[in-house]
Every structure is written in C-alpha cells, then in structure tokens.
Symmetry: C2
Subunit: 249 residues, 2 copies
C-alpha cells in the first residue's frame, strides 16, 4: 500500500512500447469500478499513431506529454450509446439534461482514475490533461464525437522517462470536516497554506513569475478569471450542442 503515498504524475515517457492488448486489458479491469446503475455511461477513445497524437496536441496547448506518450486516452461521458439502446428496445430515453451529463461524467472520472491507478501499479506513468473541458470543441471535432458524448478528462500513458520529486500536499486535516463544514478564517487558512507557500519550489515559482504571493501566480498567471470565464462560456456551448442542455435554458 506504499504505492498510494508515493505516486507521482509522469509527463515524460521512455520509448518502451505498450501494446493495444495491454492498454485494453487495463481498461477492462478498470471497467469493474463502480458505475451508476450498471449503465457504464462512458466511452474511451485511444489515440496511438503520431498523426493522431499530433492532431490532439493543440487542444492540450501542445503539452509534450501528448506527443511523447505511448497512448493518449480521451475519457468521454457517453449517453449516446445508452440512448440508442433505449430507442432500439421500445423505450423512451430522457437523458438530454444536466443531471444525466453529471451521472455520465462521474462514471467517466471514476473509470479514468481506476485506469490511472492500475497503470501506475503496473509500473507505467500517467498524466491527466485538464485542458480537456477547456478545448472540448476541438477534441469533439478531432475524435468525431456525436451528440450526448462529451470529453471529460484525458490521460497520457507510457513507461516513465523521468523521476520527479513527490508533489507536496496540504495538511489532510485542513480538508476534513466532521459532521458539519467549519468555515475558514485567517488562522485556519494559515494552517492550511503556510507550509505550502514556504516550500522552496513555490517561493522560486512566485519569484520567477514576478509576483508577491503564490496565490497571485494562480490568479494572474495560471488560472485567470479571464480564461476561466472564456472557457466556461465555451463549455456551456459544448453541453448545448451535445444536447445535454436540451430541456434547460
């Protein structure tokens, strides 16, 4: 069980090959993860050739883990297959709404995380790409995703070509509440973030970005209001076009 506390995200991969059969075997195992009402509301699209990976790279801001990976796996919330099954079986499906998208997205992330754990326990390295919902329109176009199929998260996978340090985490007790949520105040925020801000890598990161505080690096550089709002509008458009907002305004 030492694995869980020592896992690292791997962004650079070696040339060691991974076969389709090996990837499929890990996905098959991962599909035994919990799923809403046994519906398995997901599909995965595996991009393996250089051309396929290069076609996806711009949607992930050309992060090198995309073209360097043995496979790029796009995990998609999918109510299309289930809806078509219903129609072919004389049933009237009503899954063109937000709650159905959420059910499918939960299934999809649970599957992705189970795949990541299985891959890492098999000695592979993985990296999540959160850019998936930001640039969903390009991914939908590149992968040919139909209605009621929306990409939720992407995983790059391959044998590790780097050995990064363990990433720091906030004190776990700051994130755990008993019975009721205890709102933060200046003191509890300090207990939660002081050590994190004091880390050499984070002080360096703050200085390199010319900011006074680490928080300003997040708000002004990494996850800005402007970008968040821009990509929020785009994603609402994606849900509408995919017919997951059919019955809401």
């Amino acid at each position: 069980m030492d694995y869980f506390k020592n896992r690292r995200t791997i962004r650079r991969y070696s040339d060691r090959k991974l076969t389709d059969a090996e990837i499929e075997s890990m996905l098959e195992q991962a599909m035994h993860a919990p799923t809403c009402g046994s519906m398995q509301l997901y599909s995965v699209v595996i991009s393996r050739s250089d051309a396929e990976k290069q076609a996806l790279a711009p949607a992930h801001f050309n992060q090198p883990s995309v073209t360097g990976a043995q496979a790029v796996i796009t995990f998609c919330a999918d109510f299309n297959r289930f809806t078509q099954w219903c129609r072919l079986r004389g049933a009237d499906p009503g899954y063109d709404n937000v709650q159905s998208f959420i059910s499918a997205a939960l299934d999809t992330v649970i599957l992705a995380q189970q795949f990541v754990t299985i891959a890492e326990m098999n000695g592979l390295g993985t990296c999540y790409l959160g850019t998936t919902t930001w640039n969903a329109p390009q991914i939908i176009d590149t992968l040919g995703l139909p209605e009621l199929v929306v990409p939720v998260i992407t995983v790059t996978v391959g044998y590790p070509g780097e050995n990064p340090d363990l990433q720091p985490r906030l004190p776990h007790r700051s994130l755990i509440h008993y019975g009721r949520y205890t709102p933060c105040d200046a003191e509890s925020i300090g207990q939660c973030y002081d050590d994190f801000e004091s880390l050499g890598q984070n002080r360096k990161f703050t200085a390199e970005n010319g900011k006074e505080t680490l928080a300003q690096v997040f708000t002004d550089v990494r996850y800005t209001r402007q970008a968040n709002e821009h990509f929020s509008e785009i994603f609402i458009g994606v849900l509408k076009k995919a017919k997951f907002l059919n019955t809401q305004q």
Copy 2:
C-alpha cells in the same frame, strides 16, 4: 492485481468498528491522487454519529447503506477555501464560474475513487451514492456548506456484512474506440447489450417491473425523464446559489 476485476460494491455492513484515525489515514493516502495544478479543490465531510447519518438519510432516499455504515463521507467540490486564501494573499480570485466548478468536481471524484480503492484494498466495503447531486440542497443545508462548496458524490464505508455476486459489465471492446469514435448502429448495440439483457437477474428484473424490455425499466422506472429534468433544474439552482454560475446566465 486480482482485486480490480473482483471488486464488489457493498451496501450492508457488519458492526466491526472503524476509527476516525483509520478513515483519516486512508483519506490522507488518497489525497496523493492527481489534482488540478496542486490546488486540491475539495473538502470531505465525515458523518459518524447515528444522528448525523440519520440527518443525511432522507437526501439519499433512506438507502439502508447510509445508517448502516461506519461512516458516510460526502466529497465536496470546494473553491471556497482557495478563494479565501487568494483574498488573504492580495490576489483576485476568479473561480465563480462553470469551468472552475468542473475543475473542482474532477479533483473531488478522483479523490473519492482513490479513497474507495484504498478502502476496498484494506478489506472494507464501500458504496457510492449518486443521489448526492439530486438532493444537493438538503445535503448543503445539513452539512452547512458555504458558497463555492457543492457536494458531488458520497461514499458509505464499513466492513462488509454481505457477499454479493460480481456485477456484470458490458463487453469492454464495445466501449473502446481507436483514433475516432465509431457511431453505434443496431448491430453494434446488439453486440454491446445482448448478453447483458439475457442475464437471469436482468430478465427477472424486467419481469418484476412488468416491462417488455430491460431498457424500459431504466427509462420508465429507474431514471425517468421526469426525474432527470426535475433534478437538473434543482442542480442548476444549486450551482447558481453556490456562486458557480455568477458570470453566466
């Protein structure tokens, strides 16, 4: 690695005790799972006393796994703590939007699934409660969740008090696409669902519900259009009230 293909969801628990320290240790391990930009955009609320579990039970339609569990753990997307940290550090946070909710929800589900895997590998039984987003308003009220904190998924945990059969899964190849998504047709839907529909438990389930097809049990009984649309409207209201739709209409 046999665990992954043989895991089962456990809804009934024995009386064997689980301590706060044991739960916290598993959560601490799970918090090393991947997280968006090291932000750890989640909080967990642990309900342990009979009174706390009973208070949550109606929001989960009184499923017996809630009051029977050693702990009910509500995993919440949380941009409140991070936003307060930013404000206290002279940074201007812009996380009151859909894309920020999605980032936090992804972090939250990844954490929940890592916790489930760790708990199950330690011999515990777990059950996800997808009712969390359906009845989010009651859960928010019961747990006292502030702005920018939304419950995403709940896990009940305890030592197993039952030994259920392995749940069937669709053929994994039907859910995997290479390069581009291959749209379904009647033939591929058959390949995907025929065996699932033929299972004794599913034929029995269809007959018990007085339906002609299994799909009709899903559309007419389990996940109806009326319920999906009702709970979608409610959840959009939850996101608005939590300030995650501040900048969208």
